[in-house]
């Protein structure tokens, strides 16, 4: 893998071919906000909070830093009025789901996002997919997955698998930026095995 040089926020940054812009930036100590990114997981590009402006051969466009590969002579800007406006709008959209998520609240403070801009939605899940992808890519278990699509999309545990595998693992729990994952798991337990709904199962 060859070394390449690109520019991020005016700074010369050295990176290895195959790296993403996000990885190169973080290596150089430049922070870019993310919600759906996880070092151990393949780039997903779902939350779009990591949008940055990439300029290549005179062409500027917004790209997701978590998925965009570094290129020689790429010029990246991680902050601009437009980028901030888009991040603020993305955060406001997510705060309609999870207004009390500590992670979202902190980012909202940084970008001046108003948690009450949009009417509250019934579901806490922000569809970052960390639980689903962690379970699939790292644990190879697929005990939790997405069901339905679009605005009706939600995460759901597969009851048979969850009851067998999840109690001994629960590695996805701390990944969830809201409290929806835990709630979904408790619901699965309750529905799959009424006896376990008292919590006896999770205490084992």
């Amino acid at each position: 893998m060859s070394e390449i040089t690109l520019q991020i926020d005016g700074k010369e940054v050295r990176a290895t071919e195959g790296m993403t812009v996000l990885e190169a930036a973080r290596k150089a100590g430049i922070s870019i906000p993310t919600l759906c990114h996880h070092e151990k997981l393949a780039p997903f590009g779902g939350c779009r909070l990591c949008v940055v402006e990439a300029e290549f051969r005179g062409q500027k466009r917004l790209v997701a830093a978590c998925a965009y590969p570094v290129e020689k002579d790429l010029v990246v800007r991680t902050r601009s009025e437009k980028i901030d406006r888009i991040r603020r709008s993305l955060l406001e959209l997510l705060l309609a789901h999870a207004p009390d998520s500590p992670e979202l609240k902190e980012l909202a403070g940084q970008y001046g996002a108003d948690k009450d801009h949009f009417e509250k939605e019934a579901m806490f899940c922000i569809h970052c997919g960390l639980c689903v992808r962690y379970c699939s890519e790292i644990k190879k278990m697929n005990a939790v997955g997405f069901v339905d699509r679009g605005i009706r999309k939600e995460i759901s545990f597969i009851p048979e698998l969850a009851l067998k595998e999840c109690n001994g693992c629960k590695e996805c729990f701390p990944l969830c930026p809201t409290s929806y994952l835990q709630a979904a798991f408790v619901l699965t337990e309750a529905l799959a095995s009424p006896a376990a709904s008292t919590g006896t199962m999770s205490k084992k």
Partner: protein, 642 residues
């Protein structure tokens, strides 16, 4: 027919077919496209078969069920060659007369001909009908001459000649060069130069390579890909094999919607015939080139028309787009170099190879070459599929081909490019059809939907409708599309219900920018177009809804009221009887009044009030006048005379 082992054998078979066919022998071509099937063409075909048998004409006349002719408004369509006599809206009852009069006596049946709505002039030949005359049907035209289930028909019009030429007279690089020179751009929506895409896939490292046909046409109201696939599947397959040869692929997939049963059926038959003839499979035409095609039926998600989502779906996964780069040309199906093109793009390829890139590029504008098939629907007299040269003004499509707006209504806007296209207003009707021209106007070519709207259409409601469709079809992977559209839909719905507020337009603009700039795929990036283009050209309608609670088109149900003008009401009691809410009070000789509390705004009274009275009014943004005093409601003889 035996396997064809060389281009010479192909030409020999072609000559055999031609020598067996007498151009003077009458041939009845009946459109059996999906539109005409819906109009009852199957019964017409059965009637022809029966009648021909009954009259003992089996050897004297050919009967051909073809793909879509395009003039769907007037189906079922029957064309009798060699004279090219075109009969429209034919019913089984007309059949025996057509046989005895036209076929035997060579007499034209006047009532089945096309009649010009304005001049009343009748047209005999199909190609003389204004709807067809102003088109340039190089891709779609052959549909008329082909029974899609009979490979001989395709061979008779020169089918697979381009394939033989590419395989035996051209190197893969030359094929790519030819496609690049033709400046063909993808017909699926994005308009990316096809030759450049092919070259990238050819140069990409990795084996095997794949080619894919995108027939996941999901736009509401659009059916051009469907009709090409149903009516002329061999043209798509021929293009695909040529592309595979150019790129170096030996396996291809056709991704076709499960909802297109006729397309799936005809495609399957075509593939089987090609395999039997040595036009698919090992050692095609003895060239040493191997290529196989499989059909994959899509489960009907709009987003699967997006190429990365389509490939995910082909792999058996949920149809969700992936970040690009890497582009499919480098890392596509099962991470191998993959070239994916739309049905119509593939169907253009044999034409380019046969006629040469320069002939092809002589049609169109600087940036857009060749023709484009559009599905012309909405408030237009001649609904159907039209193929026009790039560069034709939209006005010609609407008036010369489409025959204008029915019912004496005024043209208001034309929505092009499918749900995520934009609305083009009347002042831009002279705009030329082309990828860049439409994009600059805030719309897009898309895959070729053209929806015409008249003065009764509310543009805010149009934006709401398309955003609703896109919200339903969003895959839900990325936030700007899933959540942004959810909120845009809520706000637009609120505005059309008279609950819009100051700042709504600005919030919509920010959401539109977020979706357009930050979405993962083209569906999300283009999704705000219906809002942005209607705001650009019809901002006053948004403001009227928000500030005055008025719908200028008198269309948004919750912003209009019905009112009976007492000076015009003749107390005929028609509206009173038709009102499902029993909201109309009145009687014989007693002027009717609508009880606004009971009225559900269904509009029945407005529809049924005799036009000579025109007493029922639709109003918006103004208070309903108070009912006239009881004593003045009785109609006396004198008042009737005035």
């Amino acid at each position: 027919m035996a396997r064809l082992n060389s281009p010479e054998e192909l030409e020999k078979v072609r000559q055999d077919i031609s020598s067996r066919r007498d151009p003077k022998k009458p041939c009845i071509s009946i459109c059996a496209g999906t539109g005409c099937i819906a109009c009852g063409t199957s019964e017409v075909i059965s009637a022809f078969k029966r009648e021909i048998g009954k009259q003992g004409l089996k050897d004297q006349v050919d009967l051909r069920s073809t793909g879509c002719h395009g003039f769907c408004e007037r189906g079922p369509i029957v064309v009798i060659d060699p004279e090219e006599i075109c009969y429209l809206q034919v019913t089984p009852g007309d059949v025996s007369e057509i046989i005895s009069q036209t076929l035997k006596e060579k007499k034209i049946i006047d009532r089945l001909l096309y009649v010009d709505q304005v001049t009343g002039a009748k047209t005999v030949k199909e190609s003389d009908i204004p709807f067809y005359k102003n088109q340039k049907r190089i891709i779609f035209g052959p549909n008329r001459k082909i029974d899609p289930q009979n490979i001989e028909d395709y061979l008779a019009i020169g089918g697979y000649r381009a394939l033989a030429k590419a395989l035996f007279q051209m190197t893969p690089e030359q094929v790519i060069g030819e496609v690049k020179t033709s400046k063909l751009r993808g017909r699926g929506g994005a308009g990316f130069p096809t030759g450049v895409k092919w070259e990238a896939a050819r140069k990409a490292k990795g084996e095997p390579k794949y080619v894919v046909v995108n027939c996941d046409e999901g736009d509401p109201g659009a059916y051009m890909d469907r009709s090409v696939m149903e009516g002329n599947p061999h043209s798509v397959i021929e293009g695909l094999i040529i592309g595979a040869y150019a790129i170096g692929a030996h396996e291809g997939f056709v991704y076709v919607r499960q909802e297109y049963p006729l397309a799936v059926n005809n495609l399957g038959i075509a593939i089987q015939q090609d395999e039997e003839h040595g036009l698919l499979g090992k050692n095609i035409l003895g060239s040493g080139f191997d290529f196989d095609v499989k059909v994959h039926r899509g489960a009907g998600a709009f987003v699967c028309g997006e190429e990365t989502a389509l490939l995910m779906s082909l792999e058996g996964k949920a149809g969700e787009p992936k970040p690009r780069p890497p582009y499919p040309a480098v890392k596509g199906l099962w991470d191998k170099p993959t070239n994916i093109n739309n049905v119509e793009t593939w169907a253009n390829v044999p034409l380019i190879i046969n006629q040469g890139a320069d002939a092809f590029a002589s049609i169109g504008t600087e940036g857009s070459k060749g023709t484009k098939i559009f599905s012309l629907v909405g408030k237009i007299s001649n609904t159907g599929l039209v193929e026009v040269p790039m560069g034709i003004p939209l006005r010609d499509v609407v008036y010369k081909i489409g025959g204008g707006i029915p019912g004496g209504k005024k043209f208001k806007a034309m929505q092009t490019g499918g749900p995520s296209g934009g609305c083009i207003p009347e002042q831009l009707l002279d705009l030329k059809v082309g990828f860049d021209e439409l994009t600059q106007a805030g719309s897009m070519m898309g895959s070729g939907g053209m929806i015409v709207m008249d003065e009764d259409t509310c543009m805010v409601d149009v934006a709401r409708y398309f955003i609703d469709f896109l919200t339903e079809e969003s895959c839900g992977k990325c936030v700007p599309c899933r959540e942004g559209l959810r909120q845009m839909h809520k706000i637009l719905t609120r505005i059309t219900r008279g609950k819009g507020k100051e700042g709504d337009i600005e919030t919509l603009q920010v959401l539109a920018e977020t979706a357009a700039e930050a979405s993962l795929c083209a569906l999300g990036k283009t999704a705000p177009n219906p809002f942005l283009s209607t705001l650009r050209y019809f901002r006053d309608e948004y403001e009227a809804h928000i500030k005055e609670k008025r719908c200028p088109a008198l269309s948004c149900k919750e912003l209009i009221s019905y009112y009976i003008d007492p000076a015009k009401c003749r107390a005929c009691m028609i509206c009173l009887k038709k009102c499902p809410a029993k909201a109309i009070d009145g009687g014989k000789k007693k002027i009717h009044i609508i009880d606004q509390e009971k009225c559900t705004n269904c509009g029945n009274c407005f529809e049924v009030c005799p036009s000579r009275f025109g007493a029922v009014k639709k109003i918006s943004g103004e208070p309903v006048p108070p009912p006239i005093p009881e004593p003045e409601r009785t109609i006396t003889r004198e008042s009737k005379d005035t």
